[in-house]
């Protein structure tokens, strides 16, 4: 029987559009309305042939053998206990219930807990630590903003409905003219599809956004005359023109993206952007927001902040207190330095999205590795164990945080494929199994069948009180 499920939130990008209508027939997804092309694909993928329906263990010849959940959970639990510094990374595509459960597991295991922000908007966190985050919810942009700046972000590709729902085109309460009433400035090294929607496009020299922000701030501090003739490839007149638009705005909003976080200076490109927002507030209202990538990549930052006080890169190995310092406790640095001895890839694909020179130090280092993901991804193809889980937003609900940290309650539209577990159920079971193993005397003693034991090196028991 066909059923149309309305108000469904989309598990693709940080825009978290929650107006999807999904038509389901006998547990199969037939049609998706209102979603962008990528979101639509997620729903269709869920119903496609060839999905993995049971946990699998990689064999020496590279093939996979189906195993039971109990076996997969036992492998994972034992690995977490025995490893000296296991890394649990991912969470781009899970709900907050799963993240909270993973937090309990990681704390009990003494693991490093990290999420995809580590390679995405982690720099924005560093900037927020240093400078704060004068932001707003997306409705404020829709209802009030008459000047919108996309800096180093390309929503036309990364957040396909962002411009129509929030940024450029919507008619809000005080912005009844929609796009006609908004001035849009795009700043990017490439002339992107987003730039085509802009009133003003500033083509910044790649890697020099920091200097361009400084020039903007000089204008805001009254030093327009001292701005050099060209800054970061942008002529002074264009900078002054953009500043005039900003100052004349009633409500200015800056969206920034990976262009700032992935280039030289990383966090400082964001931190100076935030300082520009502080400056602009002397003239008019101004807010800023990170264009978070995944639908719930804001989630782990939020959940772990209330559990541990840190949003990401959380080193729980000390047992007594949590420690965070990206550059040391961040996944890519841990991989680069060979500082971990077990790896769980959950709701992400380190195999595809880490630089291969970093990933090969995990995937090729002979350390045990588990991938938890509904699909076969690159990390899964080199993992010892691949555990499929239900797709959030399709097969299970839960709370997810939109890019503006607004919690969106997701809905399941079909039952989990083949009865597979949700992330939360899986982590709870891993936790239970860890308790059983610990009670049975399994502990971290510096030995593990993949590692070379250090002779004569004896650990101190009872590490903390």
């Amino acid at each position: 029987m066909q059923e149309v499920i309305k108000h469904v939130a989309c598990p693709y990008c940080g825009a978290c559009c929650d107006d999807l209508e999904v038509t389901v027939d006998d547990g199969k997804i037939i049609e998706v309305k209102n979603a962008c092309i990528i979101g639509t694909e997620i729903y269709h993928h869920a119903s496609r042939e060839g999905r993995v329906g049971t946990p699998r263990r990689r064999q020496p010849d590279g093939t996979y053998k189906d195993i039971t959940y109990e076996e997969a959970i036992d492998f994972t639990a034992k690995m977490l206990i025995k490893a000296k510094k296991p890394l649990i990374f991912g969470f781009g595509s899970t709900n907050c219930e799963g993240m909270a459960a993973a937090g309990r597991v990681a704390e009990d295991a003494g693991a490093v807990l990290d999420n995809c922000a580590s390679i995405c908007h982690g720099s924005s966190f560093l900037a927020i630590f240093d400078t704060g985050y004068p932001s707003c919810t997306l409705g404020e942009v829709k209802n009030r903003a008459d000047v919108v700046i996309y800096w180093g972000s390309n929503p036309a590709h990364a957040h396909p409905r962002h411009m129509s729902r929030y940024g450029i085109f919507p008619r809000g309460f005080f912005t009844g003219k929609g796009a006609r009433g908004r001035k849009v400035i795009v700043i990017d090294p490439r002339y992107t599809d987003t730039a085509r929607c802009a009133n003003q496009f500033l083509q910044v020299q790649q890697g020099h956004d920091y200097e361009l922000f400084d020039a903007f701030r000089m204008v805001m501090h009254g030093y327009a005359a001292d701005v050099p003739a060209i800054v970061a490839g942008v002529p002074k007149e264009k900078i002054l023109e953009a500043c005039d638009v900003i100052k004349a705005g009633r409500y200015v909003h800056i969206f920034f993206g990976m262009g700032l976080c992935h280039s030289d200076g990383r966090n400082h490109n964001v931190d100076i952007a935030i300082n520009l927002v502080r400056d602009v507030n002397e003239y008019t209202k101004c807010t800023i927001m990170a264009m978070r990538g995944h639908y719930n990549i804001a989630g782990p930052g939020i959940v772990w902040a209330w559990q541990f006080g840190f949003p990401y890169c959380i080193d729980l190995t000390k047992g007594s207190v949590a420690h965070m310092n990206p550059g040391e406790t961040s996944s890519v640095d841990l991989a680069n330095r060979g500082e971990i001895d077990a790896f769980i890839n959950i709701g992400t694909d380190a195999g595809a999205h880490f630089p291969i020179r970093a990933f090969e130090k995990i995937g090729g280092a002979g350390i045990p590795m588990v991938t938890i993901d509904p699909s076969v991804n690159m990390a899964a193809t080199v993992s010892d164990v691949h555990i499929p889980v239900a797709i959030v937003g399709v097969e299970t609900g839960g709370i997810c945080y939109r890019m503006d940290n607004v919690p969106i309650q997701y809905r399941a539209v079909v039952k989990p494929f083949n009865g597979i577990l949700t992330d939360e159920q899986l982590f709870d079971k891993i936790y239970e199994r860890m308790q059983e193993l610990k009670n049975a005397g399994i502990e971290c003693d510096g030995t593990w069948d993949y590692a070379t034991p250090l002779a004569d090196v004896r650990p101190i028991k009872e590490v903390y009180q």
């Binding site: 990364a158 992935h262 890519v332 990933f359 090969e360 699909s375």
Partner: protein
């Protein structure tokens, strides 16, 4: 033979996003991600036809991809490979102690390699991890 010295960035594209959700082992993902986009003048300087395979080399590796100009235009001197397996063969893993690799803004050389084979994703990843056994278990 011409060798271009370019600055490379890697970012999301909607085609890449859609293909990723179909699956990274699919032909679709292979087709949309294993391409390099560059400025038309730079492309002309290479003296090749559209879709000719080129070799992209950075400080930490090399990758073979098809060459295009791209709708979202790069200025001269800049090139772009969509984020994913192929781009990450050459992205330097250095993070400036922030945790984030150098995904945008690193020097590469680009040179024609018309005879070369563009390697599928699984093969690239499994080879790097010494887990390649000579055959693709996932049909594209």
């Amino acid at each position: 033979m011409t060798v271009l010295h370019l600055n490379m960035v890697t970012q999301r594209a909607v085609e890449e996003g859609e293909a990723m959700e179909s699956g990274k082992t699919t032909q679709k993902y292979f087709d949309v991600c294993s391409i390099i986009e560059m400025n038309a003048d730079d492309f002309k300087e290479l003296g090749i036809n559209l879709n000719t395979v080129v070799k992209v080399t950075s400080e930490c590796g090399e990758v073979f991809v098809k060459s295009t100009i791209g709708r979202q235009t790069c200025p001269r001197g800049l090139c772009h490979i969509r984020q994913g397996v192929w781009a990450n063969q050459v992205v330097p893993p250095r993070t400036q102690s922030t945790g984030e690799p150098q995904y945008s803004g690193f020097p590469v050389t680009v040179e024609p390699a018309p005879e070369a084979r563009v390697v599928p994703a699984v093969e690239l990843v499994q080879k790097a991890c010494n887990k390649w056994n000579g055959k693709l278990l996932w049909p594209m």
